[in-house]
Structure formats: C-alpha cells, structure tokens
C-alpha cells in the first residue's frame, strides 16, 4: 500500500505570456484516493492535462515517473496504454450511440474486421455490473442522466485496464444521491487496487473520501495534507488554497454610495435542456448607485447563469422572479428591453459574446446603441466616429484609429472596446462578468481604474469574478453564491478570502 505509483517532479508548463505551472510536485501512492484542490485557474486542470498526455511530452519541463518508469506520453492514447485514464468534467460520450458502442469506441472487439456485437454487449454488461449500473448495453447514452453517464465513463476506463483514474470535478453536475453512489464506487475501486486522483471543489467530499490532498495555488504546489491527520480540516484546505497576500494591485477609491438602483428578488432559473435542474435558486440581491458589488462563487455555482438570465433571459428557461430598477419592476425578457431598462452586461467571453472581431472599433462601439446615433433607420456616420473616438480616448484604447479591426487588438484593449460599447448605451447598472479574464496585469489595473470611474460617476456596478483577491480589492460588498443559492453577503470590512470560501462551499440547505 505504501509504494508510490506516480511521481510528478518539477512540472513547469508555459503558455504564451503565462506560466500556468511553475515547478509543481505531486506524489501519489498506490491504491489511494488523492484529492487536488485549488482555486479556479490555479493550474489543477493543466496539471492533469500534462499527466494524461493532452500536452505531449516535451511541451513541458519536468519529469513524470509512473510505476517507477519515466512517462513520455505524446498523446492521450499513449498514457491510456499505460493505464492512466482521465474523465473530464465535460463528458466525452456520443449521445446517439448505445452504452456498449460508447464503451468500446476506438477499442472495438473485431472478428475478421467486423464488430462482434454479441460479444461486445456481453462484455459491456459485465463492465456495467462492476460499476453498479443497471442499464441495458443497447440503451442510447443520451437517454441516461448525467450521473449514469459518469458511470459509463468509469466503465469505459475499467475496460481500458485502468491503473490510475483521474476525475475532474466528477460530482459538480450530480445530485446528492448520484454523488453518494459515485463516491461509494470510488471506494470500491480503491479496494480493488485502482488509484484515483480527484479534482473537486466540494471540500466535504474530499474530507470524506481522500487519503491525501495536494493543494495548488498560482501554478505551484503549496502542500500535501495527510487526511488521516486530525488537523487536516476543511478550513485548513481553504487556508492553503487562498493563502496569498493582497498587494497594491488595486487602485484606491473613495466610495460615494447612494440609493438602491437595482434589485433582484427571488430569481430562479432552470437549466435550458435538463428542465428539472435548478441552476439559480431564489437568488436576491441589490446594488446601490456608486457601489461596486461582487458575486463570488465557484465554477458551476450559477454566477454567469444568474447574470445572463437577468439580461434578456439570455440563459435558461422557466425563469421566475422580479427585477427592479429604481424601485420599479422592469421587464428584462429580451436583451432590447433589458438595455432599455438601463442594464448592461459585459460577458466573460468577449470573443464569443462581446465583439464582432471582423469589424472595426467604431462599429463595435455602437453595436448595442445604434438607436442613439441614427434617425429614421439611417446611421449618422460622423456622429458614430465621434462617439467611437470619444471612448477610444477616455478608455485609453491602444489602436491606430477607430477604424482598426478589433480582431487585431490585445485582450485588454478588446475588453475596453466592449466596456465602451456598453457605456454608449448609458446604463444605470453594469454587470461585469470576469472583467479581467485573460488580461495581463498592467491592463488589469487600467480596467479596475475604469470600473472605479464608473462607480464614481454614480453607476451601479456588479462584478462577477473567480478571483477572490480581485473582488476583495475592488468591491464594497460581496455576495456569495453556491450551487445556485445566495449563501451570504459580506461588507468589504468583514470579507476575507477564508470567510468567502467558507460561504462559497456551503453544500446543503444550511443557508443563513
């Protein structure tokens, strides 16, 4: 039991401009369940991609020893041949194929070049029994729930003679019963000698099941905790995950806070395709004029879903609840109405949802507020250039002219164009979803400065961010969201990363 199956030594992985992993060490013992914890973007998934050969040998620095031998995987197929199988958060099953077809996809049992379906189905039935899934092998995978699909994925891994199973957030999309079943299955597999690495945000789960926990922060290993040790509590893990100091990365600001401008009451949203799944559950919040309010929550907590459903019902279905602007209920059921009501939403993915990269700064700046510069359907070209130029100057967008294509700008400048576009609609409330994602440090400071200026001009600002230091650095008040529910709110004076993390990981109905 005490032999080491996996050793990752000094793993460093650099992307253009970013060091995602910086000398990470990970040591996993034979037959244990090893948890990996860290904030969003800490480098957990990157590390697992290095291990599973998604990033081939040679594209990173450092050494991986698997069963005592150096692992030089150049593809996922290579690492799978060695017995390392990764199951991603987004399941990789083909919904229209049967369970058996999915199980043996790329690994079919053939006789004289043809697939022997009888044998395949029999073998599939055995595999399904091993993972405790009572379904026929000929059922199309799309008819199974997420929990059962997860079991199919594990069965698929077992078929490949897995020695080390990696699960990325396996229970994030599961209900309590399915989660419980999955965790029990992992315990059984442990008895059978299969080693397991599990990435999870659910600290309760980790405390329950893991033998060891490795904490990663900012691409570096912080520490490894032996979970048998009574000192290895959830709080201990949180401390390790967030334990960095806040430096002067945020511009100073004197808040000048007025009346409540924006209020949401009992906002509920259902998943667009899985109708019974509640993504946002009776969330309520308010933002005052001149106030910067944050929403903290882990991946999958429903932050973006909350924002996008408010903004023109752009996400989900079965939406209920009230939105009030200046105390009056407003209709936000289409994007046009939401804009008219004075709401602007800056998406977390500016390339996909924010900009038309084929067009220039000018056209993008006015895209959401063409009505303001047109009469009888005709766009006033001179006024348009004037406005785009105004935002180019006030936002300090680095581009030769407003006729420059947005596709050629850097991330920070693209973000400024999106901000300009929404300011042009003259909103009362700006919802900023991950406003600094994928932007370098210098540009981040500029974006913070712009956000401060917006608040100073009396706008209400709602910021969604995965980076707790960012929220602590710029917000006056922070709400926490966990599993679609508002689990608390802290004023700036009381908010710490530890307290936020606690509120963000509340699992059951023990809401304040």
């Amino acid at each position: 039991m005490d032999s080491t199956i996996l050793q990752m030594q000094d793993i460093t992985k650099t992307f253009p401009g970013v060091k995602a992993l910086d000398g990470v060490n990970l040591s996993v013992r034979q037959g244990e369940i090893h948890a990996i914890c860290g904030e969003n973007g800490a480098g957990k998934s990157t590390l697992m991609k290095v291990l599973s050969g998604v990033y081939p040998h040679g594209s990173y620095d450092g050494k991986i020893l698997f069963n005592g031998q150096e692992l030089k995987a150049s593809s996922i197929k290579d690492s799978e041949a060695k017995g390392i199988v990764i199951i991603h958060q987004e399941l990789a099953l083909v919904p229209y194929l049967s369970v058996a077809e999915n199980l043996f996809l790329g690994n079919e049992t053939k006789r004289r070049g043809l697939i022997d379906w009888q044998e395949a189905n029999q073998r599939a039935a055995k595999l399904l029994a091993r993972v405790g899934l009572a379904e026929s092998p000929v059922t199309p995978v799309g008819q199974l729930g997420v929990g059962k699909q997860q079991l199919v994925e594990i069965a698929k891994a077992l078929n490949k003679d897995v020695k080390l199973l990696i699960l990325d957030e396996p229970t994030a999309a599961l209900n309590d019963d399915d989660s419980e079943h999955l965790l029990n299955l992992l315990r059984e597999l442990r008895e059978q000698g299969i080693t397991c690495i599990i990435i999870s945000h659910k600290l309760g789960e980790i405390e329950d099941i893991a033998n060891n926990t490795t904490i990663i922060r900012d691409g570096q290993t912080v520490e490894s905790l032996d979970m048998a040790d009574p000192g290895s509590t959830q709080n201990r893990i949180i401390q390790g995950m967030v334990g960095r100091s806040l430096s002067a990365r945020y511009p100073d600001r004197e808040p000048n806070i007025g009346q409540v401008v924006f209020e949401v009451r009992d906002w509920s949203v259902h998943h667009p395709t899985q109708h019974e799944r509640v993504v946002v559950n009776k969330a309520s919040l308010d933002v005052r004029a001149g106030e910067i309010v944050g929403i903290a929550g882990l991946m999958g907590a429903g932050r973006t879903e909350l924002a996008m459903s408010i903004f023109g019902h752009s996400y989900g279905r079965g939406i209920s609840g009230t939105v009030l602007m200046d105390g009056r209920p407003v209709d936000t059921s289409t994007v046009g109405k939401a804009i008219k009501a004075g709401i602007a939403y800056v998406s977390e993915d500016r390339k996909k949802f924010g900009l038309n990269l084929l067009e220039d700064i000018r056209v993008n700046t006015t895209a959401a507020g063409l009505g303001k510069i047109s009469s009888r359907g005709f766009v006033n070209g001179n006024k348009e250039i004037q406005i785009a130029e105004h935002y180019r100057k006030s936002m300090r967008i680095k581009a030769p002219s407003v006729l420059a294509k947005t596709g050629n700008l850097s991330g920070g400048n693209q973000q400024k164009v999106v901000l300009g576009k929404w300011l042009h609609t003259a909103p009362e409330l700006l919802i900023l979803d991950e406003p600094t994602r994928g932007i370098d440090v210098g540009a981040k400071y500029e974006i913070y400065t712009i956000i401060n200026e917006l608040a100073a001009s009396g706008k209400a600002v709602l910021v969604i961010s995965s980076e707790l230091p960012e929220l602590l650095g710029i917000c006056d008040r922070i709400y926490t969201l966990a599993y679609g529910r508002m689990t608390g709110q802290l004023p700036k004076s009381e908010a710490t990363q530890e307290r936020l993390m606690e509120l963000m990981t509340i699992e059951k109905e023990n809401v304040r």
Binding site: V335, K352, N356, L358, V379, L403
Partner: protein
Amino acid sequence: MTLKTELKDIFTKNLRTSGIYIAFVLIVVLFTIMTDGLLLSPINLTNIILQYSYVLILALGMIMVIVAGHIDLSVGSLVALTGAVSAVLVIKTGAPWWVGILAAVAVGALCGVWQGFWVAYVGIPAFIVTLAGMLLFRGLTYEVLNNVSLSPFPGEYQQVAGGFLNGLLGGYGFDMFTVLIGVVAVAGLVWSQYSTRRGRVKFGQDVESMAMFIAKNALSAIVILWFFWQIAISRGMPIVLIILGVLVIAYHVLTTRTVFGRHIYAIGGNLSAAKLSGVNVKKVNFWIFINMGMLAGVAGAVFSSRSNGAQPGAGNMFELDAIAACFIGGASTTGGVGRVTGAIVGGLVMAVLSNGMQLMGVGASAQQIVKGLVLLLAVAFDIYNKRRAGEAS
C-alpha cells in the same frame, strides 16, 4: 502616407478587398485583346447590361443573405414562378403591364415571407429551407403555366428589359440624356466620397492622401464617363440599367448606412454577440428573406420581359450565378464579410467571362468549366489571404 506606399498597399496589404477589382480589369483587358476590341464595343456593352442585369439584381439580395450567414438556393425557381405569374396575368387575362410587374414582386415577397418564417422563426437552416423552396417554386411554376410556355408579351412589357430612353434631351450623334446621367453619377460618387472623407478628417481619423483620393476618383470618373459615352453613341439609356442603378445605390446605402444593414453584418460576424447586443435576430433574418424574394420578383419580371414570355424551365441555375457573384466579389463563406459593390463586380466578372467566351465562339460546356474554376479560384484566393492575414497578426 505617401502615394507610393498607398499604391503598393493596394497590391499587398489590401489585396483582399482590391483583388476583385484588379481581377476584373485583367479579365476585361484579356477578353478585349482576344476579341479584337469587340468586348468593349458600344453595342456589346449594351448587350452585356441587357443580358446579365437579372443576375446582378439577384446578387444584391444574395449578398445580404450570405453576409448574414445563410444561403438561398431557391431564387432561380422564384424567378421562374414570378415571371410565370406575371405572364399569366398580362398575356392570358390581358392585365396592364404594370400589374404583371407588381404581381411578380408581390409573389416574390410572399415566397420570401414563407422562407423567412421557416429560417428565422422555426430555425431550420436556410440551405434546407431554400432547397425545398427550389423544388416547391419550380413545381408551382409548372402548375401556374400548365406546363406550357406563354408568349408574347405586349410591347410595353418588353420595354422593361429591352427598351431604351433615347432622345429625351435630343441627340447630336449621341444621346444627351445618357451623357447627363453619366455626369450626375460621377458627381454623386465624388460628392459622397468627399463627404465621407471630410467627416473622417473632422474627427481626427487617418485618411488616404489627397493625391490618392484624387487619383482614385479621377479614374472612376473616367471609366464611368467613358462607359456612358459608349452607351450614348449606341442605342441610348437602357431602361433596365436605370432600374439596376437605382437598386445598386439603394442597397449600397441600405447595407452601409442603416441600422438594418449594421444588424445584418453583426449577425453574420458574431451571432451570439449580436443577440447580446439587443439585435432582434429573428426579425432581421425574416426581412432578409422577404427582401431576397422581392428582388427575385424584380429579376423575374426583367427576365420574362427580356425572353418575351414565361417558360416552365426559366431561371435554371440563376441561384448559382448569384451566389458565385457574391463569393467572387469577396463575400466570406462563413458570413459577416461582403459588400454590395463587391457582389456587383463579381457579377460583372461572371458576365464578362460568359460574354467574352460567347464572342470567341467558345462552347457552352467550356464556359461552364471556366466559370466553375473561376469560382473555385476566387474563394481559394480569399481563404489564402485570410490565412496570410491571420499569420501576420
């Protein structure tokens, strides 16, 4: 920027937009030489206009469809159907010529409503909807015509595609009216270019050098005036050229200067971003197809007038000529990019190719092969340029 570097840019950096114009000039020069100047003779220029006007009219609607990220395969059948309806009204029931034309446009718009509904509100890909429309409208054409051709149209109706305005302001060996139109066209072009330039200068934007501006406009002016002169000394102003000219200006303005036009480009450039910017995507898509139907109706009227009757098989493959014109004119296959002027020049490339080969006596089979290759090369060139631009940035 100096004139020299600007000239260089036309052949290097800006090749993607200027390429189509360069290619057009090369093709015109090539066929002029190979036909001993016959291509640019006054009579032949007039012929090209009469012969290919309907493809250009279709290309105006098609460019909007393609920029929004769709395709319309039904316009050929729709040309036949609208022409047939008009023919039945005018020839069989003896309705006046303008009733026939209005009916053609109305039927086209109605078919556009039908297709727009399925594309925009039901969400079926335009490829499928218009493929169905292609069969549907062709079938309806057979029904309307009872499987037989109808002809001839009365004289007034034939004037639409075959008539000329000649001698309105007197002739002096040339038609004064035609020359006047040419002068007005040049004045309008220069004025609009100048006012755009003035606007940009006023708000501190970079513009091309004055020398380049004058050179460009002088060149366009010379080409336009020369063209109208040739027509003026031939048979005068073709009525269909007036229709075409009005439509080209209207659609150029619609696509570049209106909110509706902006929304088309926004949808084609980034559908998700357009939605999140408050663009009513369904409504815009709906109107794009209604518009396409209307223009197919106009083309149907023009074509039936030119062929002096309605045939069940009319308009076969027109959709492909219109689509080819757009792609040759620089439209992107994935939407978001394309201009009315590009589509018109693309259409003219196809027209000059066909006409030039006809003058040389090249057979229909070889013509098809050449047109197919030109389309393929044009899109390959566009993709090559895109990739090159991608690597540079």
